[in-house]
Structures are given as structure tokens and as C-alpha cells.
């Protein structure tokens, strides 16, 4: 166990954790939205992220376009992809219950992983950006510019989803549907339409998180499952089904990971995260920020 030698090291580790956590947070919001309306644990979230990462990798190697523009490109493409995925796959299966949906997500994950390893080969890739090596210095703390931009984009994506849910009629319908699907249907909200919209947004957020991941980390086709797990943990920290919670949950997870990687070792950081995840599930299943609800019988 290592203790922090000075306050600046502590803040350095803290900031690294927060920047890492923003990325988990965006993926987690997508997962949480999908879970909120459809009660599906979308295991393929990480594979969708890596798919976005490969799209950016292709764009960056074949054209001179700056990878940062990838965010603008991925957003509409993945919105459409999510819509097609829901209409083509999940709409029918969602009626059959949670088990088949979970399995369908798993099948999709396996399919995506292997299609990606066929197209782009299983070798580890990375995307180099103009800011890959530059960093800001605040006092004695170094902040990677790439990670700072990634965190800013993550916050913007969250703000957009938040505004959509709070300020638009459709967003209100999504919130109503995640609160009580049958009551929402009684009020004239179409469950399939709302689910399709939510699913599309969830996939688009996975795309954004994928762009963020590929400009900060090297990746391979099978890297995504780890992100699915991390996003799940972030969702559990923040509370299943809520909106702002998963981002905070993601940041908490990021900080917890970088703190325990520093004090114990990188190998134990994951175990600490999972243990915290189990503890929170047992002690506060509604998440750290969630409201306690009384189960309806």
C-alpha cells in the first residue's frame, strides 16, 4: 500500500480519475436509459463502443479528417443504427421477457466482436490525434488535453440528453415510460416508439463513448466487454434508470479506480471496483443518488 506523498499527487490522481470516469459515465447513461424503459441489460454496449472506435480508426487512417470531428459523425450514424437495431431485433424479443433480451444482447455482442475482428483483424489499434502528447500544467498537476476534451464532450452529451428529457414532449414521454410503462401506454404514449427513441439515444451515447475511448486508449475487437461491465458498475453506483446518476456513478468509479490503482496496484483496482459494486448493490440497491422506492405488489 502506498500513501500519497503530497496534496498535489492526490489531486493529480483525483483528476485522472474524474476524466476517466466521464467516459464511463457517458456509456453508463446509455445503458441506464435503455434499462429504464425496456428493462434490458444491454451487454453489447461495449461492443457498440468499439464499433464506433473502429469507424474513427478508419476515418483517421484513410482521410486527413481530425478524429475529434468523429463525435459529430458518429452521433447521427449511431442514432440511426440504434433505431434499426431496435426495430429489427429488440422490438419483437422485448415482448418475450428479460431473459431472451439479455441473450439477444449477448448474441449481438459476439457477432459484433467477431465481425470486427474479421474486418479489422484482432490486432490492437490506436488513434493518434494532434493533442495525443500535449498536456496542460496547473501548478504541479498535469492534465492530458485529449482527456480534457473527451471529458468536455462527455459532459456536453450528458447535458444534451438531460435537456431532451426535461424540455421536450418526447423526453417527457420517455421519462413517463421509464417510470411506469403500462400507465404511460394508457395515456397514449406508444411503448414501441418511445423504446425505439430511447434505444437509439443509448446506442448514440455508446458511439460517443467509443470515440472518447479510442482517442485515449488502444483497443481491440474484444475490449468492449470490459467497458460494458464498467458501465454497468457506474449505473449501479448512480442508480438504475436515472439520468444524472450514471454520470456521477461513472466519475465515482473512475476516481475509485485511479485511487486504488495508486494505493494498491493496477491489478487490484478492478477488484476494489467490483467489491464496491457488490456492497452498493446490497446496501443501497437504488444507487447512491437514487430515491428509495417502496415496491408495489
Amino acid at each position: 500500500m502506498t500513501t500519497f506523498p503530497s496534496a498535489s499527487v492526490f489531486f493529480q490522481v483525483l483528476i485522472n480519475g474524474v476524466l476517466l470516469g466521464c467516459m464511463y459515465g457517458v456509456a453508463a447513461i446509455g445503458l441506464s436509459l435503455i434499462f429504464g424503459t425496456m428493462r434490458i441489460i444491454f451487454l453489447a454496449q461495449g461492443a457498440v463502443m468499439i464499433l464506433a472506435a473502429y469507424c474513427i480508426y478508419w476515418m483517421a487512417t484513410l482521410s486527413p479528417i481530425n478524429p475529434f470531428f468523429g463525435f459529430l459523425l458518429i452521433l447521427p450514424v449511431f442514432l440511426g443504427l440504434g433505431w434499426i437495431m431496435y426495430k429489427g431485433l429488440f422490438q419483437k424479443v422485448a415482448k418475450a421477457g428479460a431473459n431472451p433480451s439479455l441473450l439477444l444482447a449477448f448474441g449481438l455482442m459476439v457477432l459484433l466482436e467477431h465481425v470486427m475482428s474479421l474486418i479489422w483483424s484482432p490486432t490492437t489499434r490506436s488513434v493518434i490525434t494532434s493533442t495525443s502528447t500535449s498536456s496542460l500544467t496547473l501548478g504541479s498537476i498535469n492534465i492530458s488535453v485529449t482527456r480534457l476534451i473527451v471529458a468536455a464532450v462527455a459532459l456536453m452529451a450528458t447535458a444534451l440528453v438531460f435537456l431532451f428529457l426535461k424540455k421536450t414532449m418526447l423526453g417527457k414521454a420517455v421519462r413517463a415510460a421509464s417510470e411506469d410503462m403500462s400507465a404511460a401506454a394508457l395515456l397514449g404514449i406508444s411503448p414501441t416508439y418511445v423504446s425505439a427513441v430511447t434505444f437509439a439515444i443509448g446506442i448514440a451515447l455508446a458511439g460517443v463513448a467509443g470515440v472518447a475511448a479510442c482517442i485515449t486508449y488502444p483497443f481491440d475487437p474484444f475490449f468492449g466487454f470490459l467497458f460494458s461491465l464498467k458501465a454497468l458498475i457506474a449505473v449501479a453506483f448512480g442508480g438504475l434508470g436515472s439520468v444524472g446518476g450514471p454520470l456521477v456513478g461513472g466519475v465515482m468509479l473512475g476516481v475509485l479506480e485511479s485511487m486504488s490503482a495508486y494505493t494498491f496496484s493496477a491489478g487490484w483496482a478492478d477488484a476494489v471496483a467490483y467489491a464496491a459494486f457488490l456492497l452498493i448493490l446490497i446496501l443501497r440497491p437504488e444507487g447512491m443518488l437514487g430515491r428509495r422506492s417502496i415496491e408495489k405488489v
Partner: protein
């Protein structure tokens, strides 16, 4: 649940005939060279794993995503006891200890998880359990030998036959105990918990005790499989022992066959293995892609499993084909 005595007799004789076939098959062919013997061995293993998941998830409604934790514990208990010299090759005591180790962890972890968590939260909690154990084994130092894993000298291997028969025995015993549980008060209590936990508890069923029982039994047989696997692969590391395939494949097989049915998972195991092998033969390069596509197709077109087509009220396939009417199974 109630079956006509005649039909029950037919089913019993089919089951006995199948077991008899599986017992004599490796004796008739050259077992070491036969790929089919190896496939049957794999199938028996998956029958046990599938029913181990099915008893908690299918009957009691407690969907676990952490079966690979129990499988991994089984692997490591066997490997560590062998390294220490306390267990021999294919030692029944070591196998029982592996199962018991998994069962103990199931009780210790199951108590808080099953008491506190329902539905998806329980599934997430068990998924976390598997990952914690994987990371713990990875960082276990000289005890688990980290990423390199524990190697068992493989020169003791003589024949696949003992593996085949042990796997067959475990799967038959698992099926038998599941049959007796499903046809007893316990089975009724488990189904009552699955259908409505609150109503079950209001009717005086000690729900936590029964959930723990189902979860622990599933963990025990999964641990046994892990132990046998350790003896078969001779090298135990974290990626092999705590592989998510050990949880996902059985779930896929049970859903393909029919969740919460007795015969369904067995049908699921054999049809999935047959389908995957066929794909592997036809397109060796593309087989993982087709496997993923196959999972998607199954969930799209057979979400309730093969059993629903055999016994369901909508599609009584076997009832329509009158020559096969006698085969139609009751749930």
C-alpha cells in the same frame, strides 16, 4: 405436473435407453480417436452446468450471471489441492471438495444477495461476484500463481473414458436430483417463489431458505464440473477457469431448450452443440460469427425454447404429427 402412469413409463424407458446407449457407446468405438466421444463428454458437462443454472433461474426465478465463479472455484480447489499433494488424479474426494467449496461461497454470498436483491439486481450482483473472484485469482500471488496459472503434470492422462463416465455420472445424478426436487414440495415452493415472491411468502414459504437451497445446489454441481475440467485441461488460469462462456453457454442452452423445464435444457445442450459443430465443419473460419448470428436467430424465433413447441398450447407440433403423439412431453 401430474402425468399419466403410462406416459411416465414411456418417458422412463426412453431415459433409461438413452443412458444405456451413452454407457455402451465408448465401449463399442475407439474412444481415444472418436471425436463424438469427446463431444458427448462436453455435452454431459453442459447438461450439468445448464441444470445447475436452471434450478435457480428456471424453477426459482433467480437469474444468476455468476456461474463462472463457481466453475472457477471448482477448478482452483482441485488444482490447489493437487499441487499440495492432498488430492490424487481424478480423486472423488477432491471433486467433492471442489463442489463443496463452490457451495460454501454460494451460501456466504447468496445470503446477502438473495435476501436483498431481486431480479436484475441479483443478476448484476452475481456477475460482480464472478469478476471479483477472477481478479482475486489473478492477484493471488503464489497461492493461485496469478496470470501464469497452475499447471498439473499431464503425464497421468491415459484415456478419455474415465472423464466420459464421470461426466455422465454427474449429469445423471444432477438430472435425478432435479427430478426429485421438481416433483416434491420444494419444487412447488421454488415455482411459487418464481411466480410471485410476495404471495409465496404470505403463504408461509420460507423464501430465503429455498432460494439459497436452489442457488447452492446449482453452485455445487457447477463446482463439480469445474473440478473435472481442471483434471481434463491440466492447466488452470484465470481466463480459462473464470471464462464467461461457463455462464453464457449454459444459459443459451437452457433458453434454447426451455427455461424451467426438466427435459428442455438437455435438448438445448445437444441441439446447440450439434449446430455449432455443423457450423464449424462447414465454415471453420467464420464459425464464431455464425455462432453469434445463431444466438440472435434463436432468440428472435424461438424465445420460449424448443419445449414450448413440443408442449405449448399454441404449437403442439408433436400433437399435430399424430405418429409422434406419444412422445409429447408434459412440462
Amino acid at each position: 405436473m401430474l402425468q399419466e402412469p403410462l406416459k411416465r413409463k414411456t418417458h422412463l424407458s426412453i431415459a433409461l435407453a438413452l443412458v444405456f446407449f451413452f454407457v455402451i457407446y465408448p465401449l463399442l468405438v475407439d474412444a481415444e480417436a472418436s471425436y463424438l466421444v469427446f463431444l458427448f463428454y462436453t455435452a454431459f458437462m453442459y447438461v450439468t452446468l445448464s441444470q445447475g443454472w436452471n434450478i435457480a433461474a428456471g424453477y426459482a426465478g433467480q437469474v444468476s450471471l455468476g456461474q463462472h465463479a463457481f466453475f472457477g472455484i471448482g477448478c482452483y480447489v482441485t488444482a490447489i489441492t493437487w499441487r499440495a499433494g492432498t488430492a490424487g488424479y481424478l480423486d472423488p474426494l477432491a471433486m467433492l471438495m471442489s463442489g463443496a467449496g463452490a457451495a460454501v461461497v454460494a451460501i456466504v454470498v447468496g445470503l446477502p444477495l438473495l435476501a436483498k436483491l431481486r431480479g436484475d439486481y441479483f443478476a448484476l450482483g452475481t456477475l460482480g461476484l464472478g469478476e471479483i473472484l477472477r481478479v482475486a485469482a489473478l492477484n493471488g500471488g503464489s497461492f493461485t500463481e496469478g496470470a501464469a496459472g497452475i499447471s498439473i503434470p499431464s503425464d497421468v492422462y491415459q484415456s478419455i473414458k474415465p472423464y466420459y463416465f464421470i461426466a455422465l455420472l454427474i449429469s445423471v445424478l444432477t438430472m435425478l436430483s432435479l427430478w426429485f426436487i421438481a416433483h416434491s414440495r420444494i419444487g412447488l415452493a421454488l415455482v411459487a417463489i418464481r411466480e410471485d415472491e410476495t404471495a409465496a411468502s404470505a403463504n408461509g414459504i420460507p423464501i430465503l431458505r429455498y432460494k439459497i437451497l436452489a442457488f447452492t445446489l446449482g453452485a455445487f454441481v457447477t463446482g463439480l464440473c469445474g473440478s473435472l475440467n481442471a483434471y481434463f485441461v491440466f492447466h488452470i488460469d484465470t481466463t480459462g477457469a473464470f471464462n464467461l462462456n461457463w455462464v453464457i453457454m449454459p444459459i443459451l442452452m437452457v433458453i434454447l431448450g426451455g427455461v424451467g423445464t426438466f427435459v428442455g435444457p438437455v435438448l438445448g445442450v445437444f441441439s446447440l452443440i450439434a449446430a455449432f459443430e455443423l457450423i464449424r465443419l462447414l465454415t471453420p473460419q467464420l464459425h464464431p460469427i455464425f455462432s453469434g448470428a445463431f444466438i440472435i436467430l434463436v432468440t428472435l424465433f424461438l424465445p420460449d425454447g424448443i419445449m414450448s413447441y413440443l408442449t405449448g398450447h399454441k404449437n403442439r407440433l408433436l400433437h399435430k404429427l399424430s405418429p409422434f403423439k406419444w412422445l409429447a412431453l408434459n412440462k
